[in-house]
């Protein structure tokens, strides 16, 4: 249809508003409350226009177009009406733009500019009220125009449910929770409200006074923290070589949303503590060296040691925190130059069971569906995921879905915060996932809720499953997992009768000695229900680190090359040898990470290359890890900060970080995203691909890594699943693998039409095995471990960024009110936690998140971290440690100051 605006005719679509058409055609209409994300509230009336044949002025933001409509936005009357609204708005606050952070990007200022308003004609009344109590956000009440965008977005998009309007009439005001200061509220500082506020009422504290927006260069890139892979824009002060602000980009997977780490945890890149020069250990001390010295030393060491003992004394670790290119570089170096398959990375400690379990059942070890489909699902089944803290942006989608009518079941021994939004919270005992899920499958089959057709047509061995599952009647399962029979039946019914089920799980499933079995059982469940290969369904592991998916994809694994091609396959070997221009690639599977370390003590591992891993703090049973690392003949660490592992390194090489080079990350739904260089690296820091290339040269192999992109291209040439992904194609938007050719659009959903990557799906017979170390008289508590919202990994990035450390400065041991009362422990008291392997002294946090008998902490803080206590017992298939369960004892050491806690829907006391 066509409409006329200011005497020009424009094309319009059915559901367009007048504003939509005007905006598309660059006709400015002031809008102060409307925003695409928060919708039409028609509150401010700044957007009024005149429509022929309609009485009075109309708000254009919610006025649907009609064919032949004749609209005026520029008549004197319209301008006067708009002016009056904006004028009143100015008068009901205090808008002095001189020192306002938003000057230049403020929508109210824009409106004044366009309408020619220099000053309010009314008397304004500054109150001077500001809320600066929170770490990252400043609220300036005088600049709030009460548009309601922030309230809407906080409640409906990120669903953190903090902001609201309080009081009435003239006194109406935005407030946090029950009108407490933001810093004391349940606000998680995601900053979404800041990003959508039209004025300077909500601003980022960090960038205040750092400069006007226009003077910063904007660089689009990918978040360096969790596996969600949020797209963001860095606002860079080029002269200072620093990022000053981060905003979310309106692109999948995050659509502008971020969490506190992604938005406010960026200064680490410019920290003076960054490693800047190669360091060589001399007489027990690390001394600065030149790159040539360091590289020559490493070359010499590899030559002599490998020459003498063979290539398998060399092992290398890639990382889920570095780019695809750098992972590819280190795996190629290990295989093509040293000629061993001893390459692994930290997926070993987290999602290796996912890769193994799902590859076994479906033929592909990655998430089957995409993040955005969560909004379309009917029932979300969350098990073993503390997503509001570890994958905040995923949790926003989950909460949105629930708000829009999806149902949710949350199964977790701990009452994780996402349980607050669940229809059903199921607290099962630690480590009983297999019997719990088997009990559910049994009940589903008993009641004929299973998808017979899917099982028959799309799986290999449905009859086997139906037979052995009889070993798990709900009653028996209930006895083991501690979930009442009635509740199990309820869960089974919900699962069995839902139209679309999406299973989302995380490390609560994998970090057990039964990790692979747990994953296989989840695969069984979804194959029984037939919720695979369709939108809004699937098995969706939340991969932890920014690029842990990519590190697997790039072949930083001992059994496969990039693209998951087995190292044992002769044909592949030949093909790769030809492409790499080398011969003698090893056909023997390499060591997995724990084996590499164990073998150090027997002298079978002599050289370890460790890129971005911090092995000492991340492996279980730190005392043992230290022994192993000490037993190495030569340890090379490539990292961006000193950490618990660099202490033991013979050579430390300074790496670049996420915004100092180009590269790619693959996120949790297999989306390959681009990273861009925004600043120069500190000192002489170099990318890993460069280091590997230099070492290759010295050892006589040209690895062809001349840039990040060249490295990617080298991978792509033998790539299958990522063969079609080029830097050029992902400039603005990521692509999901499999994407074999440059014209392939990418694959949002795996195994469509019930056709699994491996052909038919495979059921696995899984059995209950108890955790390796059960609590007993001496060590009566189960210690489980995890992540906090405010920190990441071993804290090197988050603790070197300003502010996060202030919010959460030290580790807390979470303990249930029942246990705490019995032991006379209150929040803030110091307690000693002891396991058979070590002890830590840490502050207690009494919280209902912990069930009786279970305590919890993380490994973020070097001073007191979980891995001093955790058990080095491993999953039998993948050697993933049992981080989620070991036995400890607790004693109170001293009294502390009680911290205030209001309810458990909080990421801090």
């Amino acid at each position: 249809m066509k409409i006329t605006i200011n005497n020009n005719i424009f094309e319009a679509q059915e559901n367009d508003t007048v504003l939509d058409v005007a905006r598309r055609n660059d006709i400015y209409i002031p809008t102060l409350c409307y925003h695409v994300k928060t919708g039409q509230t028609a509150k401010c009336r700044a957007c009024v226009v005149d429509v022929e044949g309609m009485r009075g002025m109309q708000t254009s933001c919610n006025l649907k177009v009609r064919d032949g409509m004749n609209v005026h936005t520029d008549t004197k009357e319209v301008q006067e009406a708009q002016k009056m609204v904006v004028d009143l708005m100015l008068a009901s606050g205090y808008h002095n733009c001189l020192a306002c952070e938003r000057s230049g990007t403020c929508e109210l200022q824009d409106a004044c500019y366009h309408l020619g308003i220099e000053k309010s004609t009314y008397k304004d009344a500054p109150t001077g009220r500001k809320d600066e109590s929170s770490e990252f956000i400043v609220i300036d009440f005088d600049k709030c125009i009460k548009c309601g965008r922030c309230v809407n977005i906080c409640n409906n998009r990120v669903v953190n449910e903090v902001l609201g309007f309080g009081y009435r009439g003239k006194e109406t005001e935005i407030m946090c929770d029950d009108d407490v200061a933001m810093g004391l509220s349940t606000c998680v500082q995601c900053g979404e409200c800041v990003q959508i506020c039209p004025t300077g009422a909500l601003t980022d504290k960090k960038s205040r006074g750092k400069g006007r927006d226009a003077q910063f260069e904007k660089v689009d890139t990918t978040c360096p923290y969790c596996g969600t892979g949020c797209q963001l824009t860095l606002h860079v002060d080029k002269a200072k070589n620093k990022v000053v602000r981060v905003t979310g980009r309106d692109e999948w997977p995050n659509n502008g949303m971020l969490c506190v780490k992604g938005r406010y945890g960026f200064e680490f890149h410019a920290s003076p503590k960054r490693l800047q020069y190669p360091l060589i250990k001399k007489n027990g001390k690390h001394e600065q060296a030149t790159w040539d010295e360091a590289l020559d030393l490493i070359t010499e060491k590899i030559k002599t040691t490998v020459g003498k003992y063979g290539p398998d004394v060399f092992s290398a670790l890639g990382s889920g925190r570095i780019t695809n290119e750098n992972n590819y570089a280190i795996q190629k170096f290990t295989r093509a130059v040293v000629k061993t398959n001893n390459i692994d990375h930290c997926a070993r400690t987290c999602h290796a069971p996912t890769v193994a379990g799902l590859a076994h059942a479906f033929g592909s070890g990655a998430a089957t569906n995409s993040v955005d489909e969560i909004l379309e699902t009917d029932l979300i089944f969350v098990i073993g995921s503390n997503m509001t803290e570890a994958h905040p942006v995923v949790s926003y989608y989950v909460k949105q879905a629930v708000k829009n009518g999806s149902r949710m079941i949350v199964c977790d021994p701990r009452r994780v915060d996402i349980a607050h939004w669940a229809n059903l919270y199921v607290p099962l005992k630690v480590g009983t996932d297999v019997p719990f899920l088997n009990g559910l499958i049994n009940e589903i089959i008993q009641n004929n809720w299973h998808n017979e057709a899917f099982m028959k047509n799309n799986t290999e061995n449905p009859e086997d499953l139906k037979e052995w599952i009889k070993e798990y009647p709900v009653e028996k399962a209930s006895e083991i997992c501690g979930v009442p029979v009635e509740q199990m039946k309820q869960v089974a019914k919900l699962l069995g009768t839902a139209e679309k089920v999406s299973v989302i799980y995380c490390l609560g499933i994998t970090e057990h000695t039964t990790g692979t079995d747990n994953v296989k059982t989840i695969a069984n469940l979804q194959m029984v229900l037939g919720h695979l290969g369709k939108r809004g369904c699937g098995v969706n592991p939340l991969r932890g680190q920014n690029n842990v998916q990519g590190a697997c994809d790039m072949g930083a694994l001992p059994n496969v090359y990039h693209n998951y091609i087995s190292v044992k396959d002769e044909k592949t070997k030949e093909k790769i040898e030809k492409h790499w221009g080398v011969s003698g690639l090893s056909l023997k599977e390499g060591y997995k990470l724990p084996t590499m370390l164990h073998k150090a003590t027997t002298g079978d591992t002599k050289i370890l290359f460790c890129v971005g891993d911090n092995t000492v703090q991340t492996e279980p049973n730190m005392a043992k890890t230290i022994q192993e690392v000490k037993a190495l003949e030569f340890l090379v660490v490539i990292d961006i900060f000193e950490n618990a592992t660099t202490d033991f390194a013979d050579v430390i090489l300074p790496d670049v970080c996420f915004n100092e080079d180009f590269g790619t990350y693959s996120n949790l739904d297999r989306r390959v995203h681009l990273l861009r260089k925004a600043v120069n690296p500190p000192g002489e820091a170099k990318p890993t691909w460069w280091i590997m290339n230099e070492l290759g040269k010295r050892l006589g192999v040209d690895l062809k890594f001349t840039s990040a992109e060249a490295t990617w291209e080298d991978m792509r040439a033998t790539g299958t699943i990522m063969g079609g992904i080029t830097y050029e194609r992902i400039q603005h938007k990521g692509l999901q693998w499999p994407c074999p050719t440059v014209t392939h659009p990418g694959t949002p959903i795996l195994h469509t039409n019930g056709k699994f990557t491996r052909g038919k799906g495979l059921f696995s017979h899984t059995q209950y095995r108890s955790q390796a170390e059960m609590p007993d008289k001496e060590y009566p508590f189960v210690l489980s471990t995890g992540r906090r919202l405010w920190h990441y990994h071993t804290g090197t990035q988050t603790r070197n960024s300003i502010g996060l450390e202030n919010i959460f400065p030290e580790e807390l041991l979470e303990i249930s009110p029942v246990d705490a009362a019995r032991m006379h422990i209150k929040s803030g008291d110091m307690v000693k936690a002891t396991s058979r392997r070590g002890e830590i002294t840490v502050k207690a946090w009494v919280t209902e998140r912990s069930p009786e008998g279970v305590v919890w902490c993380t490994f973020h803080f070097r001073e007191a971290h979980a891995n001093i206590l955790t058990n080095d017992a491993y999953d039998n298939v993948t050697e993933t440690p049992e981080y989620k369960a070991c036995a400890i004892r607790i004693e109170k050491v001293s009294e502390g100051v009680e911290t205030v806690s209001r309810g458990f829907r909080q990421a801090r006391p």
Partner: protein, 175 residues
């Protein structure tokens, strides 16, 4: 616990919270339960203490800011404890001219509280209002539903006594 919370009727705040939970439970599946639940909570406690507000938010799964927004929107809801008797002095023009301020001063000194506050024994809350529509009787003051007209500050003591006398002895009050 350092300070046991007592409500106007003398029963323990903890007990009341349990009663509130029952009430919320019985009402929570009805749409638009928030306002009725808040009303019930207010009549239970006499006002809306923080614990009650948190409970309502948690159990109804409504954001705390929404619950608080409703509470602060309607003047019916009170965030401060209210006494058994709500004294409201009219500050409309007629009453003002006839000396409402002196009445307020007298009430403040004799009760030992400011406007909006409640006496320690939870008997009286002092508040002010706009024209009660009884200007012919100015100055006017209301104690719950009783209208006191042509009030003089010298009479305040006597008026308060009549309400105090209606009370059972202290010992009987607490069970």
């Amino acid at each position: 616990m350092s300070k046991p919370l007592k409500c106007a009727c003398g029963s323990d705040e903890k007990e009341l919270l349990v009663r509130l939970e029952e009430i919320i439970h019985s009402m929570k599946d009805k749409p638009g339960a928030l306002i009725p639940v808040l009303q019930a909570a207010q009549s239970l406690f006499g006002y809306l203490p923080e614990e009650a507000i948190l409970k309502v938010s948690e159990m109804l799964r409504e954001p705390l800011s929404k619950v608080y927004g409703v509470i602060t929107f309607y003047s019916f809801f009170s965030l401060k404890p209210r006494g058994k008797y709500l004294i409201r002095v009219c500050l409309g023009t007629a009453c003002y001219v006839q000396g409402a301020n002196e009445i307020i001063t007298a009430l403040k000194t004799q009760l030992g509280i400011e406007i909006g506050e409640t006496t320690k024994d939870k008997l009286f809350t002092l508040d002010v209002g706009r024209c009660f529509g009884a200007c012919g009787l100015a100055p006017v003051m209301m104690v719950n539903d009783d209208v006191h007209s042509w009030v003089k500050s010298s009479q305040i003591g006597k008026i308060l006594k009549t309400y105090e006398r209606k009370q059972p002895k202290k010992e009987e009050a607490t069970v």
